[in-house]
Symmetry: C2
Subunit: 369 residues, 2 copies
C-alpha cells in the first residue's frame, strides 16, 4: 500500500480495546506509533512503525528546556460501511510545516508523512471506533532532541505520530457553553507564535482557563494582546459570529491559529451563498449587537468539537445570552454537514475526505462492548 | 551534610573531565543528577541523586505537547582557595516557584531543593572548574509528565537538576557586541509568560535571532509587544542604559524576566550611590540620546555573561555606536565587582555568596589539563 519505505516492527502483545463511549480524551493509545529522526547530514530518515512505547531522551534534550516543538491534531472516522475516512489530512501536514518554519524546525515531506500515516492507520485500523461522535484522534508532533543547553535551534529532531481512540466530545451532542472574555491574560500577539501549533501556546493559557472554570465558564475567549479589544479565538478553537445576517470570523492577522475546521466552514458557507466576512471584530461590537438585538449566533470551531455553540459571554462582569442559550440554525446545519461529510454519510462535493484504502475490513466489531 | 533526606545512588563509571577552557556551553554533563517526582496524593516525593542518564517518558507526556515546564540557571564557582561558591541560589528557587505559578505547576519547597542541590554539588564537587571565567552551570527544571492529550495542567511532574561545566563565556574577557533592535517579532506581552522562565519563551525567539545573526548582529533587543516602542530585554538578558549620568533599566511590567544579575546590579549601584531608575525607556529615547551625545553606556546582564557591553545598536536600518565600541567604565566596574564577589576574590558585603560547605577539598587539580 505504501509508496514510501517504512520499516515495520509490530507488537505481539496487543492491548485490549476500550469501550467506545467511555474513553476520556487523549488517555488511551493504540498498539503502534510512527517515528522518524532528523539530523543535518541525513535529513529526515529512518521512518519506522514500532510498538507504542516510552521514548528515551537525554535530560538536556532541548525539548525540555526551550520548547522547540510543533504538533498537529486530526481524526480518522469510521463510516457506517466500515470505511476509514480522514478529513483534509494534507492541510494538517501543510500547517505542521508552517508551524515548524516559525519554530526553526526543518520541514517534513508532506506527501511522504501522509503516506506513513496511512500505513500506520492500516496497521491500527481495528482501533478506529464506529459509534456516533467517536473517532481515532491522530497526533503528529516533532520534538527537538539535541542534548544542549545553549539557547538556539536543535541539530536533531524526532517526528512521531501517536493514535488515541476518543469518545464523543460532547455526551449527547452539542450544547451551548458559557465563555469568559479574558482581560488579564494574553494568548498571543502579532510577531509571537500564536499562528503556530506549538506547545508554549497551550500551557500559557492554563491560569486563565482555571480562573474561568472556577467561575462556571467552560473556557475563555482571547482578546488581542495589543489593545485587548479585538476577538482572537476561544480556548483552542476559532470563533464565528452571526450578527444581523452577517457571518463574521476574526481575520488571520498573525496571532490566530489557521484552523482547518475554520477554513472548511468558510468554504461550506460560501457554497451555501452565505459568505463569511474575515475581519477584525471587537468585543464591544458583539456587546452592542446584543444590546440592539442583532446578535444571532456565536460558535467555536475546531477538530475536537467541530462546532461548539456559545450560549453566554461574560465580559467585565457583564453577561450576555446568545440565541436564548439554544443551538443556532447555522451552528446545527454546519455541525450536521461537516460531521456528515467526515463520516461518509453525506456527499463530499469538495473532495475533502480521504479514504484509508478501498479494501479494508470493517474493524468496528473488533471493539469490546 | 544534608538536612533533608535524599536517596543516593552513585555511578561506578565516572566520565573523564574535559579541559577547562574548551567546553562548549551546555554540552558536557557531570556524573550524577538530582530527580524528584510529583503526584497529587504524595506531593513532591522520592528525592534522589542518581547517575546522569537518559530519562524515559510516554510519547503522550504533556511536556511534548503543551509546554508546561519551567527552569532556572545558576552557577557554582571555584574560589582560588578551592572553596565552592554559589551566588544567591535562593533567588533562583524563589523565581522557579514564581514561574511555576504562572504555568500552573505545583511549587517546590525552596529550602529543601536548595539543600538537595548542595548535596548533589558535594558529590560532584570535582567537576567545578577553577580557571578564570569558568564555572559549573546548574540547570534545575520541572517537566509535566502525565500521558494525556487533553489541554490542561498535568497531574504529575518531575523536577531535575543537571550540572554542566562551562568555559569562559567570552574568550579573552568581555567585549562590546552589536545588537539588532527587533521590529517584526515579539518576545512577550503583558498577560503572557514573559516574566516566567519557561521553554516557549526561548524557541519563539529563534527566527528573530537567526535573522539578526545573518546580518552580523550578536543578538536582538526586544521591544514591547504592544507598541513596539519600549525596550524590554536583549536576547535572554536584561539591559541597562547610562544616559546623561542616569542609569536606567526597563521596569518589570510583567513581560520582562526578573533577572537575578539585574537585581544584584541595581543593589550594587545603589551601594555606590549610583541609583538605577527602573522605568519605561523607549528606543526613540535611546536614539535621541545618541543624537545629542548623552548616551554613555549600554550593557546586558545575565547569569551566563554577567555583563555584556553593547557597542552598537541597529534599528530600522540606523546604526548607532555606543561609547566608541569600548567597554564602559560602569560596565567594567560592575563586571569586576560581581565576578570578584562570585569567585570569592572580593569581600561580599551583601551576603550574596553561599559556600558549599567549609571542609571540602580543592577539586581543581582533579581536572584534566
Amino acid at each position: 500500500m505504501s509508496t514510501y519505505n517504512v520499516s515495520i516492527s509490530t507488537t505481539a502483545q496487543k492491548k485490549p480495546k476500550p469501550s467506545q463511549d467511555q474513553v476520556p480524551f487523549g488517555t488511551v493509545f493504540t498498539d503502534h506509533m510512527f517515528m522518524m529522526d532528523y539530523e543535518p547530514e541525513q535529513g529526515w530518515h529512518d521512518p519506522r512503525i514500532v510498538p507504542y512505547a516510552p521514548i528515551t531522551l537525554d535530560p538536556a534534550a532541548m525539548i525540555f528546556h526551550y520548547g522547540q516543538t510543533v504538533f498537529e491534531g486530526l481524526k480518522a472516522y469510521r463510516a457506517d460501511d466500515g470505511r476509514i475516512l480522514l478529513f483534509r489530512p494534507e492541510k494538517n501536514f501543510q500547517r505542521l510545516n508552517q508551524s515548524s518554519d516559525r519554530l526553526s524546525i526543518p520541514p517534513v515531506d508532506e506527501e511522504r508523512v501522509l503516506d506513513h500515516l496511512m500505513k500506520l492507520l492500516d496497521i491500527e485500523k481495528d482501533w478506529v471506533p464506529s459509534t456516533e461522535g467517536t473517532s481515532l484522534y491522530i497526533r503528529p508532533f516533532i520534538i527537538s532532541t539535541e542534548p544542549n543547553l545553549a539557547v538556539g535551534p536543535s541539530r536533531t529532531y524526532t517526528f512521531m505520530i501517536i493514535l488515541s481512540p476518543v469518545g464523543s466530545y460532547f455526551a449527547g451532542g452539542i450544547h451551548p457553553v458559557t465563555i469568559h472574555v479574558e482581560e488579564q491574560f494574553t494568548r498571543a500577539t502579532k510577531g509571537g507564535t500564536g499562528m503556530a501549533k506549538t506547545a508554549g501556546n497551550y500551557s500559557s493559557g492554563y491560569q486563565a482557563q482555571a480562573n474561568a472554570k472556577k467561575e462556571g465558564n467552560a473556557d475563555v475567549l482571547w482578546l488581542d494582546g495589543v489593545e485587548k479589544k479585538y476577538i482572537e479565538e476561544v480556548g483552542s478553537m476559532n470563533i464565528f459570529f452571526k450578527i444581523n445576517g452577517e457571518i463574521i470570523t476574526p481575520a488571520l492577522t498573525g496571532s490566530i491559529l489557521k484552523g482547518i475546521t475554520r477554513m472548511s466552514i468558510i468554504e461550506l458557507l460560501k457554497s451555501w451563498d452565505m459568505p463569511v466576512t474575515e475581519r477584525k471584530i471587537s468585543i464591544e461590537e458583539v456587546y452592542r449587537a446584543f444590546a440592539d438585538g442583532t446578535i444571532e449566533e456565536v460558535f467555536g470551531t475546531g477538530t475536537a468539537a467541530i462546532i461548539s455553540p456559545v450560549g453566554e459571554l461574560n465580559w467585565q462582569g457583564r453577561k450576555i445570552t446568545i440565541n436564548n442559550r439554544e443551538i443556532g440554525e447555522i451552528s446545527q446545519r454546519l455541525y450536521d454537514t461537516i460531521t456528515g461529510i467526515q463520516r461518509g454519510k453525506l456527499e463530499d462535493p469538495f473532495g475533502w475526505v480521504v479514504e484509508l484504502n478501498e479494501n479494508i475490513q470493517s474493524g468496528s466489531n473488533l471493539y469490546s462492548s
